[in-house]
Symmetry: C2
Subunit: 397 residues, 2 copies
Amino acid sequence: MLRRTNQLSLASRLFSGAASRMMSAPLESSKLQIRSTTKPSTPKNNEDLGFGKTFTDHMLAVEWTQEKGWGAPEIKPYGNLSLDPSCAVFHYGFELFEGLKAYRTPDNKITMFRPDKNMERLNKSAARICLPTVDGEEVIKLMGKLIEQDKHLVPKGQGYALYLRPTMIGTTAALGVSAPDRALLFVIASPVGPYYKTGFKAVRLEATDYATRAWPGGCGDKKLGANYAPCVLPQKQAAERGYQQNLWLFGPEKYITEVGTMNVFFVFKDAKTGKKELVTAPLDGTILEGVTRDSILTLAEQNLSSDEWTISERYFSIKEVEERAAKGELVEAFGAGTAAVVSPIKEIGWNGKDINVPLQDGKQSGPLTETIAKWIADIQYGNVKHGNWSREVTGPL
Amino acid sequence: MLRRTNQLSLASRLFSGAASRMMSAPLESSKLQIRSTTKPSTPKNNEDLGFGKTFTDHMLAVEWTQEKGWGAPEIKPYGNLSLDPSCAVFHYGFELFEGLKAYRTPDNKITMFRPDKNMERLNKSAARICLPTVDGEEVIKLMGKLIEQDKHLVPKGQGYALYLRPTMIGTTAALGVSAPDRALLFVIASPVGPYYKTGFKAVRLEATDYATRAWPGGCGDKKLGANYAPCVLPQKQAAERGYQQNLWLFGPEKYITEVGTMNVFFVFKDAKTGKKELVTAPLDGTILEGVTRDSILTLAEQNLSSDEWTISERYFSIKEVEERAAKGELVEAFGAGTAAVVSPIKEIGWNGKDINVPLQDGKQSGPLTETIAKWIADIQYGNVKHGNWSREVTGPL
C-alpha cells in the first residue's frame, strides 16, 4: 500500500510540474529588447556569399527556465555563447534546429517562405526531446525584427537569400540525464547565394545499405542534432568512392528514404500507358517532414494534369529503381530541401553498378525538376502569389 | 572520361586530406600547460555530494584543427566555454563523451578504474562521427594530472569517488553538414557520492516498445550525445505512470536491450536442473559497450562455478522474462553502469501487468547482484587487485 501511495504522489508531483510549466511565462515578442551593434558591417558582393559561413551583425536570443518560462527576447550583436562545460547540449544532444530563407522581392519587400511550417516542426522536435515549445507566430515576428535589424545584409537578386537558423539547446549545467530545466532559443542569419552558382549541377549518389539513418520509434522525422552527425561518415565514404552524396536505404526491402540530408523524389514513366508518377517516401516517422517536400507535393497536385500524372507518397526500393531504369521507365530523380530547393541526380551507385538517371539534352536536370524549381522560385521571389506561403517581414525596406 | 578524371582527383584530394591528418600533431601530454586557480575551493562534506552537479576547481582542454592536429593540452580554472553560435556542436550533434571514476584507496592512493576501456570507446565514438581520435594513454596521463591538480577534492570513503567526464565536441563555425575541421576535447570532474545513499534501492521499470533506442546500422553502441536526448521522453512517460526507469525493447521479438542509460542483466534458474544463467544482450551494434558490463562478465566467468552457472550474451525477450517469471525461473535482474555500478530491479511493467523480480528477504537486491557489487567495489577501492583494472594516478596524495 505504501508503494502505491508513493506512486500516486510521484505522479501528482509530475503533473503539478506540468501545470506549473503551463503557467510559466510564454514567449512574447512584445518584450523584445534590442541592443544594436556599434559597428554595422557592409554587405559582401553576391559572388562572395557561401552557405552558412558568414552571418549578419545581430542574433536573436531568448532564455527559458522551467521555473519562470520564457524570458525577454533580445536582439544583440552576433557573438559567442558562453556556456558551462557541463551543459546538457554538450553531452546529451539536447539540440534542435530549423532552416528557412527570407527573400528580397523585385519590389524590394522581404518575405519569409512558409515560416509557420518551420515553427510547427520546431515544436514537434522540441516535444520529442523534452525542450520547451513556443508560440510560433511570436518567433516569426521576432525573426522579422531580426531581419529588419540587418536588412542591409539581405542580398538582392534571383538565387540569393538570407538563410535563417532558429536553434534551441538545453543549457542545464549538470550531468544527470533528464529533461533540461534551462534552454536557449537563438536565431542566427546568413546571407547566402544560389546552391549551384552556374545553374543546376546533377550529382552522383552512392546507395547506402550498411548504415541506417532512421528507424521506427526513433526520431528521424524530427530536426534534431542527433540525426546529423551520424550521417557524415557514410557521406564521406561515398565521396571517397567518387560520389557527391549518399542515398539512404532502409530495411531488407532496401526502401529509398532520403538523400544526404534532403528528401528525395523520383519520376517513373509507365512504358505501356505513358503515364508518369512523381514518388517520394511516405511520412512514416523515419522521414524528415520537409517544407520543400510539402511544397513540391502541393504544387505538383495543383499544377500537373491527373491524366498524365500520379503523385505518390509510397514505399519504393532501389530494386524498383534498378528494374525500371532497365526498362527505360526511370525518367528523373532529385533531392529536395531548403538550401538547394531541388538538387538533380544523374547516377546512383548500387550493387557495384551505376544506375543512370536521364537528364535533358545539354542540361543538368530532367524537365519536371526544372519546372518545380521555377514554380518554387517564382513564389519565393514574389513573381507569383501562393496563398500565405510568403510572409512579408514589413513594408518596403 | 572527364567525369572519371574528376572522380580520381576528388578521391586523391580526399586521400591526401587523410594523409595530412595523419601527419598532423598527435595529442601529447608532455606539452601540458597548467594555469592554476587563485581561489582553490574547500571540499564539500560527503553527505552534500550529488551526481555531476558540482565540479572541481580545474578542467582539462585540448583543441584540435584538421590543419595542425592537436594543440597543447591545458589545465585551467573550471569555467565557461565561449563558442560561436554556428558551431557544429549546437546544430548537428557532433559530440561524444565518456564517464569513469577515480577512487581514493584505504592507503590514500588515487586510482582510475579501467580508463583504457573508456579511451578505446572514446576513439570508436569519435571515428563514427568523424571527430579526431587520440592516443588514449596520453589522455589518461592528462586526466591523472587533472586529478592531481584537484586532489583535495577527491572524496574519501567507500561509495565516494571523483567522476571524470571526458567530452569531445565539433567546433567548426559554419552551417554546412560535414566532418568538423575543428574540435575541442575537454575533461571535467565531479566529486560524487554513492548512487544509493542508504544501500541499494531496487527500481520499478516500464518496458518500452513504442520507442526504439538504437537499431542496426545506427550508432547505439557509441557514447554519442545523439543517443541520449531522445531517451528522456520515454523515461519521463514511464515516470508519469509510476516507474523509475524504462526498459528498452527492440523489434517484433521485443528483445530486452538496455535499461534507461545502462546495460541490463537478468538471472534465470532452470526449474528442472537448478542451473542458473546470467544473461545480457549481445554486442550487435545496438548495445552500448559498457565498461561495467564487461567487468561483470569477466568477473562472473572467473568467480562463478561453471557447474552451477552459465554466462550468456544472447538475445532474450520480455516474453521469455514473463514466461520464466510465471514458472518461478526469474530470480534476479539489474542494470549496470559507471554511475550506480549495479542497480537492482524489482518489478517490470509490461502489457498492463507487473512482472515481479524476487529480492532477498529484507534486502533491496538479489544475491548475485549484491555479490557483483562487492566484487567490483573491492577492486575499485583497492581491497582486491585485479590485473591492471586499477590505474594508479600517482604516489600517495
